[in-house]
């Protein structure tokens, strides 16, 4: 009986192994015929090409592996920025879609229908090439808040130069931990005595007070480095100092956020509408305020509907970031599956590594989101 159940599974596995075996044998044979060698040694070799934007120290004298890390970090950076902005915008637009105000509701609807129905690559091209042309040259840029410059060559912002940065970071960690304890204490007090504690006010106080303390007592100090204009030739300028965000990053993050936010907005709308009307009425009838109804009754139930499809959107956004290659943002695909592949010729190795990397990124996001989903799921008692 067991064998009957097991046999089809074993057969499927065997077929899969055979298929995989056939393809790898075929690839091996073809590579041998062309005198190509399979191996990952190239990762150690000097990359000898430069990258315009890197979160870690890199120049052409570093290895291909280091170049891979630069690309990976750039992919993660644009994905994280995209996810944060898409989520915020998605929630705002999703709520706006439910507004009773006709104008707000229609504006949100038009935004959603417009942006989700245009191919993403076109939107990226639009933001990069059309919007880029509209930006001023460095010498004509008007300062934003007096210190930042948005130009065709990038967004130049001041950077902070820290003294005793570690102590400042510890103070933030301490603030987070103490907020966590305050929350626990507040819950206990409510359960035991039915008295509510103003958790939010205490949390804000703590997150201002502790870092401030580190400045006064811990010797933490930060000075600001401003971008300063520099002349390159008779007609061209740039900025030196501060941090430079390349226009490619801005265009890509913008396009990804605006596109993905439309889908998240629809998820939010579906989630809120999915909570039964009776729930709200029942909550109101026991005397909860509208804010409490939203926080304690509607949102916990809506989130269960919102989270799983939103996970998909986060995965999509991360994978879509590979369109970066079209506009010269140095992500994993452009640097590793592009330049490195061309310079080494190790196509099979590099494409495999790139695929595995995206798989790992996606699975990590899925695990995190599933963990959160389990946490907010209703546990029947």
């Amino acid at each position: 009986m067991n064998i009957k159940k097991l046999l089809p599974q074993l057969l499927t596995l065997l077929v899969l192994i055979l298929i995989f075996g056939f393809f790898s044998y075929n690839a091996q044979l073809n590579m041998e015929n062309r005198g190509l060698e399979f191996g990952f040694d190239f990762l150690k070799y000097e990359a000898s090409f430069d990258i315009q934007f890197s979160l870690i120290e890199y120049d052409g004298s570093h290895s291909y592996f280091r170049a891979y890390l630069v690309g990976l970090l750039n992919t993660i950076l644009v994905s994280v920025i995209g996810i944060i902005f898409a989520t915020i915008l998605g929630i705002v637009v999703g709520v706006a879609r439910l507004s009773k105000n006709f104008l707000i509701e229609r504006t949100a609807a038009i935004y959603v229908e417009f942006f989700r129905n245009i191919p993403l690559l076109l939107q990226i091209f639009f933001w990069y090439f059309a919007a880029l042309r509209a930006l001023p040259l460095p010498e004509n840029a008007e300062p934003i808040l007096g210190v930042s410059f948005l130009t065709i060559k990038g967004f130049f912002v001041p950077s902070l130069i820290w003294n005793n940065l570690d102590i400042f970071i510890y103070s933030i960690i301490a603030a987070i931990i103490s907020i966590f304890f305050v929350k626990m204490y507040a819950r206990k007090k409510q359960d035991n005595q039915g008295i509510q504690t103003p958790v939010l006010k205490i949390s804000i106080g703590l997150s201002i007070f502790l870092p401030l303390l580190s400045f006064i007592l811990g010797g933490v100090d930060a000075s600001v480095e401003l971008p300063v204009i520099k002349q390159l030739s008779q007609s061209s300028f740039t900025y030196e100092g501060g941090i430079k965000l390349p226009p490619e990053l801005i265009a890509l993050a913008l396009a990804l956020s605006l596109y993905t936010a439309t889908f998240i907005a629809e998820n939010v709308r579906a989630g809120v509408q999915g909570v039964g009307k009776g729930q709200k009425e029942a909550a109101a009838s026991i005397g909860l305020t509208p804010n409490q109804i939203l926080k304690l009754v509607v949102m916990p139930q809506a989130l269960r509907i919102i989270i799983p499809p939103t996970t998909n959107q986060y995965l999509n956004l991360t994978k879509n970031s590979s369109l970066a290659a079209a506009i010269a943002y140095p992500d994993l695909v452009l640097i590793f599956a592009g330049t490195a592949l061309m310079q080494t010729g190790s196509a099979i190795e590099i494409v495999s590594i790139t695929m595995l990397t995206y798989l790992t990124l996606s699975i990590t996001i899925s695990i995190l989101m599933n963990w959160y989903n389990n946490k907010i799921a209703i546990r029947e008692k």
Binding site: R34, G35, F129, R133, L232, S233, A328, T339, M342
Partner: protein, 346 residues
């Protein structure tokens, strides 16, 4: 008696086998690519996504350029008709994979011959059809007159996956100037970004700069700097492992160059058939056995010259008359002060 008969037959068989091996070393039998091409009836050729003068399609989809002419020469030699070519436009990133994975049989796409590419990628360069070098284009009003005028922080637009990316680093490092490389997959995007002011300079092969300059909104506002920072011998590439096909492509190119050397053009090839010069007679197919050695017929080189023309005609038609690079520079025959020099077709 039977015993001897048996031995005799086996001897005959052995001799027959040996005979086949020695006389039937017909190139055609050995070359899989040649056989496939003749069966399909067209040459599969990888070209650029649009580089005027080298490989560029007009509005009707007709390809022209010096790189395209190499494909046409191969088609004329192998199939008897220069128009029997199937063109596949490829980006710099895709080109070698397309050739390796058997999607095309000749890559004729302004590709620089380097040791790494030749030795490591599983490809073979068969010759040089254009001697080029990397240069820089800047805006005229920048006041930059030389590569020595670049200052730290300069941003340079270029194509990704090219030797340009590597040369650029070598160059700026040797000058001790920090720079910002902005690399795009397609040439059109490089041009658009440079045109918009994203970059201070656009760097690629000088022929490419001359060709792409036409696409800028105000070509006259831009100038190519005089210095050349690298050697870029561009030429056709084939897959490794098919020596006969490699020879066919190599000699199709060489025939075009040698025809110019001997003054044979598409117009006078017929009258050249009665020439007294054996070198000329070999090229127009009235003497020599070169065709058979390549697995082709006697008239293969004659067809290249009549249907495509010699190298000089091709250069004039595609590069000089279009105003891209009127001066042939190093791409002039060795007899006229250039460096075009090919082994004799004999």
């Amino acid at each position: 008696m039977f015993k001897y008969l048996k031995q005799l037959t086996s001897l005959v068989a052995m001799v027959a086998v040996l005979f086949t091996f020695t006389t039937e070393t017909m190139a055609a039998k050995k070359s899989k690519t040649l056989k496939n091409t003749q069966k399909k009836g067209f040459v599969r050729c990888g070209v650029s996504q649009g580089l005027p003068g080298f490989s560029n399609a007009d509005a009707a989809g007709n390809w022209s350029g010096v790189d395209v002419d190499v494909c046409r020469a191969v088609a004329a030699a192998v199939l008897g008709d220069a128009s029997k070519v199937k063109y596949t436009p490829l980006s710099a990133k895709e080109r070698f994979e397309a050739l390796k994975s058997n999607e095309i049989d000749v890559l004729s796409r302004n590709t620089t011959w380097t040791a790494t590419r030749d030795a490591k990628i599983g490809l073979t360069f068969v010759g040089v059809n254009f001697y080029d070098g990397q240069g820089f284009m800047v805006r005229k009003n920048s006041g930059i007159n030389s590569v020595n005028d670049f200052k730290a922080g300069v941003s340079a637009c270029t194509n990704l996956g090219t030797t340009t990316e590597l040369n650029m680093r070598d160059f700026f490092n040797s000058k001790g100037v920090s720079y910002e490389p902005v690399t795009f997959e397609k040439a059109d995007e490089v041009v658009a970004a440079y045109d918009a002011g994203r970059c201070d300079t656009y760097t690629t092969d000088k022929s490419g700069l001359a060709a792409q300059r036409i696409k800028l909104s105000n070509p006259d506002d831009h100038v190519v700097l005089p210095e050349t920072i690298s050697k870029e011998p561009l030429g056709p590439v084939v897959r490794q492992g098919d020596a006969v096909w490699e020879d066919i492509v190599r000699w199709s190119l060489n025939v075009m160059i040698e025809a110019e050397e001997y003054g044979i053009t598409s117009g006078n090839a017929d009258s050249m058939k009665t020439s007294d010069n054996p070198a000329v007679k070999r090229l127009v197919g009235t003497e020599g056995e070169l065709g058979a050695a390549l697995g082709l017929d006697q008239e293969w080189s004659y067809r290249i010259i009549t249907q495509v023309g010699n190298y000089g005609e091709s250069y004039k038609r595609n590069i000089a008359d279009t105003g891209i690079l009127p001066d042939r520079g190093p791409n002039e025959l060795w007899t006229k002060g250039g460096i075009l020099y090919v082994p004799p077709a004999r």
